[in-house]
Amino acid sequence: MSGASTGKASLWPLLTRRVGSALLTLLLVSMVIFGIAGLLPGDAAQEALGQSATPEQVAALRHEMGLDQPAPVRYAHWLSGMVQGDAGQSLVAGMPVGAIIAERLPNTLMLAGMTAVLAVPLALAMGITAAIRRGTWIDRAINLASLSMVALPEFLVATVGVLIFSVKLMWLPSIAMVSAEASWSDTLRSCALPILSLTVVVVAQMARMTRAAIADQLDRPYVEMARLKGASLSRVVLGHVLPNCLGPIVNAMALSLSYLMGGAIIVETIFNFPGLASLMVNAVTSRDMPLLQACAMIFCSAYLLLMLVADMVALLANPRLRAQ
C-alpha cells in the first residue's frame, strides 16, 4: 500500500515537468515561426499600399502597424497578444484574426473528431488482427496495404473518391458544405468523402504502429505463461498484452490525430471544406502573415498537446517509466 502511495506522490512532479517542457517547446516554436515570418523580403506595409505608394506613405503605415520597431519588441508584443487571445489584425480581410479563426476552428475539430471516431477503431482492429495472425497471409496483406496507403498522395485518394462516389455512383456530394442550419445527417453526408479520404491517409500508420507494439509484446515470457495456462490467444492479447502496450499505441494515435489537424490541408482544399487548414493555405497565397502565424501556432499547440496527453497516458499506464 505504501508503495502505491509513493508512486502517486512521485507522479505529480513528473507530470508538471512534462507540462513545463511542452510549454518551453511551444515558446521556442513561436520564436521559430515568428523568425521565419520575419524573413519576408517585402514588408507588409509595402504589400498593402502597392507599388505606387510614396516612401513617406509606406513609412507612415509601417509606423502605424508597428513594423518600424526592432524584432524582439514586435515579438514580445505579438506573443503577449497571442497569450491573451488577440492574434492581431488580418492584413487581407481587415478583420481580427481571432474572429476568422473562431469561425473555422469548430469545422476542423469536427472533421478531425469524426475521422478519429472512424479511424481509431479501424486501425486498432487492423493492427491487432495482423499481430495475432503474425506471419500468415492476413498479416502480409495488411502489411502490404498499410505500406502502400502510407505513401499514397492525399489528392489521389480524394480524387478517386470523388470519381467513384460522386461522379459515377452519385451517392455523395463532391463539395463539403458546412453550415449551422444543416441537419446532422446533411452535414455527415457532405463530409463523408473528406472523412473517408482522411481515414485512408491516417489509418495505415496507426495500424502499423499498433501491430509493431503488440508483436513486440507477444514474444515476452508472460505471454507464453498465459498461453500455457490455457488462455486463448485473443484473450491474452486483449487482456494481457493490450494494457501493456497502451503507451506506444496511444502515442501512435496522438501522432496520427495531430496529422488530422494540420495534414488535412490538401483534403480540405479539394473538398472546399471551410476549415483551418484551407484558411492557412489562403493565408500563404495572400501572404497574410498575422493569420498565417496564428494558424501555425494553433497547429503546433495541438501537436504538442496531443503528444503531452500521449506522454501522460504512457506514464499512467506503465509505472516503470516513472522510476527514472
Partner: protein, 273 residues
C-alpha cells in the same frame, strides 16, 4: 552493383516489382525529354480532356496538350527535386547529429533542443510558413523541402550515433587522440550507413509527397515549370469527366512513392526473433 543485382534476382516477386517501378521512374526522369513524343508546351489536340488513344497515349490536358509528354517532363522535377532535397536533408541531419554526439555537452544540448523544436512543427505547416516567407522558386523549394526533413533525419542519426559512440572502438580512437572529424568519418559513419540509407528512401517518399502536395496547392513548382503535382492541379477541372489528364499524374506519384516504400521495406534486414 553485381551483388545487388544477384540479390534482386533472388528477392521475392513483390520486391522485384517494387524495384522495377522505382527503376522505371529513375530512367524516365533522366530520359524523359528524349522519349517524349511531343514538345512539352505544344498544343496537339483540338479536344480538351480527351481519353486514351493510340495517338495520345494518355489523352490531352485542359489546353489540348499531350498528357504523356507533360508527364515525362514533370517526372524530372518531382524525382530530382525529391532526391536532391532528401540527400541534402540526410547530409545536414547526419552531420549535425555526428557533431552533436561527438561534442556532447552544451553543443549537443543546443542542437538537440533546436531540432526538438523544429520537429514539433508539423512538416506541412513548416513548409507552408517557409513558402510564404521565402517564395517558391525551384532552388528555394529544394532548400525548403530539405530543411523540413532535417530534424527527422537528425533524430534517427543521433540515436544511432549515440549507441555507436559508447562502443569500445570509438573510445580507442579517442584515446589514440584522433580528431572528432576523423572519428566521425572513419569510426562512426561507416557503421550507420545501412539504417541511414533506409531513412534516405523514406525521406525521399516524404519529400515527393510534400512537394507534389505543395504544387497541388499552387504553392510549389511554378509555371512555366510543372512537376507531377502541378499537373494534377492544372487539370483538376477534368475531374468530373474522369479525364486521364488528372488521374495519370496522381497515379504516377503513387507508383513512385508506393514503389519506393515497398522497396525499402523489402530491403530491410529481417528482424531476428
Amino acid at each position: 552493383m553485381k551483388r545487388s543485382i544477384s540479390l534482386l534476382a533472388k528477392a521475392p516477386l513483390a520486391t522485384r516489382i517494387a524495384a522495377g517501378f522505382v527503376g522505371f521512374w529513375l530512367v524516365l526522369a533522366v530520359a524523359g525529354p528524349w522519349v517524349a513524343p511531343h514538345p512539352v508546351g505544344a498544343f496537339v489536340d483540338q479536344d480538351v480532356f480527351s481519353g486514351l488513344s493510340s495517338r495520345l497515349w494518355l489523352g490531352s490536358d485542359y489546353l489540348g496538350r499531350d498528357v504523356f509528354s507533360r508527364l515525362l517532363y514533370g517526372a524530372r522535377y518531382t524525382v530530382f527535386l525529391g532526391l536532391g532535397a532528401a540527400l541534402l536533408a540526410a547530409c545536414c541531419g547526419t552531420s549535425l547529429a555526428l557533431w552533436a554526439t561527438l561534442s556532447g555537452g552544451a553543443v549537443d544540448e543546443v542542437i538537440s533542443r533546436l531540432m526538438d523544436t523544429l520537429i514539433s512543427i508539423p512538416s506541412k505547416i513548416l513548409a507552408l510558413v517557409l513558402v510564404a516567407a521565402c517564395g517558391s522558386s525551384l532552388p528555394l523549394l529544394l532548400l525548403i523541402c530539405a530543411l523540413t526533413y532535417v530534424p527527422g533525419n537528425f533524430r534517427i542519426a543521433r540515436a544511432l550515433a549515440m549507441n555507436l559512440a559508447a562502443l569500445d572502438f570509438v573510445a580507442a580512437a579517442r584515446a589514440r587522440g584522433e580528431r572528432k572529424f576523423a572519428i566521425a568519418l572513419h569510426e562512426v559513419l561507416p557503421n550507420m550507413v545501412h539504417p541511414l540509407l533506409a531513412d534516405l528512401g523514406l525521406r525521399f517518399v516524404f519529400v515527393v509527397l510534400l512537394l507534389s502536395g505543395l504544387s497541388f496547392l499552387g504553392l510549389g513548382v511554378q509555371p512555366p515549370y510543372a512537376d507531377l503535382g502541378s499537373l494534377v492541379r492544372e487539370n483538376i477541372s477534368g475531374l468530373t469527366e474522369g479525364a486521364p489528364a488528372i488521374l495519370a499524374p496522381a497515379l504516377a506519384i503513387a507508383v513512385l512513392t508506393v514503389g519506393t516504400n515497398l522497396l525499402i521495406d523489402a530491403l530491410k534486414p529481417e528482424d531476428k526473433r
